[in-house]
């Protein structure tokens, strides 16, 4: 009988080995797949209930995880809700993460490579992972001001430091309350998400960098001006015919001059004057003369057609190719199929203000692990040289002239040399999108901005955008 007992013991030991084997399979080899399984609410609870790092602006948390007792350990909250929604995005257990919650997820959740040793330490100390906090380059007061300026309107404001690329303000209006979407209570989340998605004003888009992109309208004349000078066909002294209407080649369409300015006063004009009054016909002629390749190249030098991550993904701006001259003429004044983002427009002004060097826009000032060691610190990074210093200086002076003596005067600030360019984009309805882009002070630029108000009438829009620019410049410079 002892033989049988021994064999039974050996069989038992074999069963234990088998059980250890299957446990090893489940807990080690198959573990990753099981944890990635869509039904694994554990992963959901863990990632959406984890203590993520905060998103901080000027020392104030704009996204923070607070302790919760609804099955999730933590609840993501957004104390300033709408003001930062376009930047923070939301962190929803149902719809996932957007904005910086998504772009900086590795750091916020504590899963980045840089936090590897923290995770190892946590494994032994038993502490639950706490993510790194992310501080933004945003100027809290400027962001608040920009948000207020857009209240009740659709549109966007972007402010950059032209010398460093730091994003000082970025607002998209209308905004939304990410707190509702981050709720762990499914029904209101689903209802709110459906409502936001069906809203024709598209509040979930951050218009500053994504969304439907805009026609840049006359703000594109900055690029025309650079192209004109770079082509060698024109100088600051060149005089160009300024007809009130320009018949476009091979069509029966005529391109009229902008009626809001003083274009009728002269039948021919320098680029400086045409720029200040935003006359269309001289720029259409410039474009047709230097050719679409030259314009396209200049546009590209300023960032058109380039991918960009700040680290939010920025939609590419588009300058069309293979155009007829008539189409090129329209494209040269930022209409036709030219598409851009407010950030791209602000970057264009920033490059002009910064001696032709375009700095890489960046929202992140620093990333600090939960024990306050620094994982990342902002350092200014040159994105590209957009144009020569000489050309940049010339166009900068034209932009200053446009504020001092032209139709962008609404943005002027006492005692400061401000450069700017307005734009009025026709959208096919009886309202327009009103633009302003510029920088201040011209000799030592502190801020470059782009402002766009959607669906306004021409006069109101122009007042809104230039006045908004003025208030932002004053806020930055004081």
């Amino acid at each position: 009988m002892n033989t049988a007992i021994r064999r039974a013991w050996i069989a038992s030991a074999c069963i234990f080995v088998l059980l250890l084997g299957t446990l090893t399979y489940v807990q080690f080899f198959d573990s990753k797949d099981l944890q990635a399984n869509a039904w694994n609410s554990r992963t959901l609870y863990e990632s959406y209930g984890s203590q993520r790092g905060s998103i901080v602006v000027d020392g104030v948390e704009v996204a923070v995880s607070v302790e919760s007792n609804d099955g999730y350990a933590f609840q993501r909250t957004y104390p300033q809700a709408d003001i930062y929604a376009g930047l923070t995005g939301y962190f929803s257990s149902i719809y996932g993460a957007t904005g910086l919650e998504s772009a900086m997820d590795e750091q916020l959740s504590g899963n980045s490579d840089a936090q590897f040793y923290d995770r190892i330490a946590q494994m032994f100390t038993g502490n639950t992972a706490a993510g790194a906090s992310v501080e933004l380059t945003i100027d809290g007061e400027l962001q608040q001001l920009s948000y207020n300026l857009l209240q009740g309107h659709k549109g966007s404001i972007v402010a950059l430091n032209p010398k460093t690329g730091e994003v000082l303000a970025m607002v998209s209006s209308p905004s939304y309350d990410p707190n509702v979407l981050a709720s762990h209570n499914a029904e209101p989340v689903i209802a709110e998400y459906a409502a936001l998605n069906e809203d024709p004003d598209r509040p979930l888009y951050n218009r500053a960098i994504a969304g439907d992109t805009y026609a840049p309208a006359s703000t594109f004349k900055i690029i025309d001006a650079v192209a004109a000078l770079e082509s060698g066909e024109y100088t600051a002294d060149s005089v160009i015919p300024n007809p009130q209407n320009l018949s476009l080649p091979n069509t029966d369409v005529t391109l009229p001059n902008y009626l809001g300015g003083n274009c009728t006063a002269r039948s021919e004009a320098t680029i400086e004057w045409a720029f200040a009054q935003s006359c269309n016909t001289p720029f259409a002629q410039i474009a047709m003369k230097v050719g679409q390749e030259q314009i396209a190249q200049t546009a590209q030098n300023f960032g058109y057609g380039q991918d960009l991550s700040i680290p939010l993904t920025v939609s590419q701006s588009v300058f069309p190719t293979n155009m007829e001259d008539s189409q090129l003429a329209l494209a040269s004044i930022g209409q036709y199929d030219v598409k851009t983002t407010p950030l791209q427009v602000a970057m264009t002004s920033a490059a002009i203000a910064n001696e032709g060097v375009q700095m890489k826009p960046n929202l992140i000032r620093s990333v600090k692990s939960h024990n306050l060691s620094s994982l990342y610190d902002f350092s200014a990074e040159q994105l590209r040289r957009s144009t020569s210093p000489a050309v940049a200086h010339q166009v900068r002076d034209w932009m200053v002239n446009s504020v001092d003596h032209g139709i962008a005067a609404g943005a002027s600030v006492d005692g400061v040399s401000v450069g700017g360019k307005t734009g009025t984009a026709e959208t096919g309805t009886d309202t327009v999108n009103s633009w302003f882009t510029g920088f201040a002070p011209a000799d030592d630029p502190q801020v470059a901005i782009a402002v766009v108000y959607e669906d306004v009438d021409t006069t109101t829009g122009s007042q809104l955008s230039t006045s908004a620019a003025q208030q932002i410049f004053e806020a930055v410079l004081n």
């Binding site: 009988m1 049988a4 007992i5 021994r6 013991w9 038992s12 234990f16 088998l18 807990q27 694994n40």
Partner: protein
Amino acid sequence: MNKASTVSRVDTPRSRRLTELLLTLCAIALCPISMYLIDPDRAVENRMWLQALLVQGVGALILHAVMYLRARYADPFILPLAVALNGLGLAMIYRIDLTTPANAGAMQLMWTGLAMVVSAVVLFFLRDHKILLKVTYISLLASVLLLILPLMPFLGLEINGARIWISVGGRTFQPGELAKITLAIFFAGYLSTHRDLILLAGKKIGPVRLPRFRDMAPMVVAWLISLAVLVFQRDLGSAILFFGIFLVMLYLATGRLTWVALGLLFVVAGGLLAYNYISHVHYRINAWTHAFEPEIYNQPLGGSGQIVQGLFGLASGGLFGRGWGNGRPDLVSYSNSDMIITALGEELGLMGLGAILMLFLLLISRGFRAALGTRDAFGKLLAAGFSALMVIQLFVVIGGVTRLIPLTGLTTPFMSAGGSSLLSNWIIVAILLAISHAARAPHVVEAFDSADSVDYSGSEADGATSVISRITDSTTPQGGRG
């Protein structure tokens, strides 16, 4: 080889009660420490750790005292192993209470104390385990009664489709847990007395000699009981367990693997029938083979949700586990009873679960060791049978939660929440202790006092190894020390 000194050591085998006491003290500390690790603030606040320490401490001391008085040479490892496993289970049940509506901790602690006391009482009166041989047929009757109880109207209670509980005064109890003890006693008693008849009388069909039906009849009755359990109580786990013990003990008694193979054929045939005609079994098998198909996963009754959630729990634990109190056992249904292994795997990881498995392996090894050491066939069968019982139970539970085999409801010995399970396992501990005492006790040596013919050479007395086992071993062709 200094024969004299070896013999003198053998003449006074050590009781090893001090070893047992020290190991038990370590084992007792496991539960309070775990409770503290789970949540220090709450542990201090609710004093559960202190209660666990007191209950397990007093229970273990009583058992220790009874062993000292009545079974001084009992195996020194069985008690600490059982206390350790029981303590870890207590800690996990307490931990699950903290984050779920479950409130099983206090009850489990009470049952722990009660079961340890009952164990001490059994050990006290069971000075010689061979008394149990006299109740062979009473045990069969008791088994039948215990298994029929839940089917009684007014008394029986159906929970989640299985009718294996009885309700007395608002408390539920699983008589089947005790039936596994009485069935093992019956199998051991019957097989040890009828072994020769079963082995030798009977027709030979081809290479296989089959026993006469009349010799096997009581066994068949017992086997039918387990089938009836399956059909009427819809409890697949217990049915597998009962049939498993039947096969293992038949093998232990006869050494005939062919019969085990035949028995397994019956299992396969029975399984196929059950799969086709019993919906409960059908669901279980489907949930096993198609666990990750949405319609099976989402099926509210008999679906694979529990298995899959359990797998997620194990996977989330990974190698090192989330740590005490850091997992999400609240996401797995029955995480403090049938699925406690997944909760332990999630919080203690593969490492912790491996350690727990090692504790179990040691425990069943001590059981087999007692079986090897004791001289009577009944004791051998009973000790080995109880050990095999635990192995089968662990195989069904862990195999079930890891999807090696279909998941069926069975408790994890000593760990799962449930008074009946604890009680029966602690009674098994008492019987194993009694048998191991019989195996190691020195008084038997006297009969061989002048047996100079016994060759002790090569047998380094290791304390836990009894001289008797060596003597009996040397009479079997295989020899060895076990």
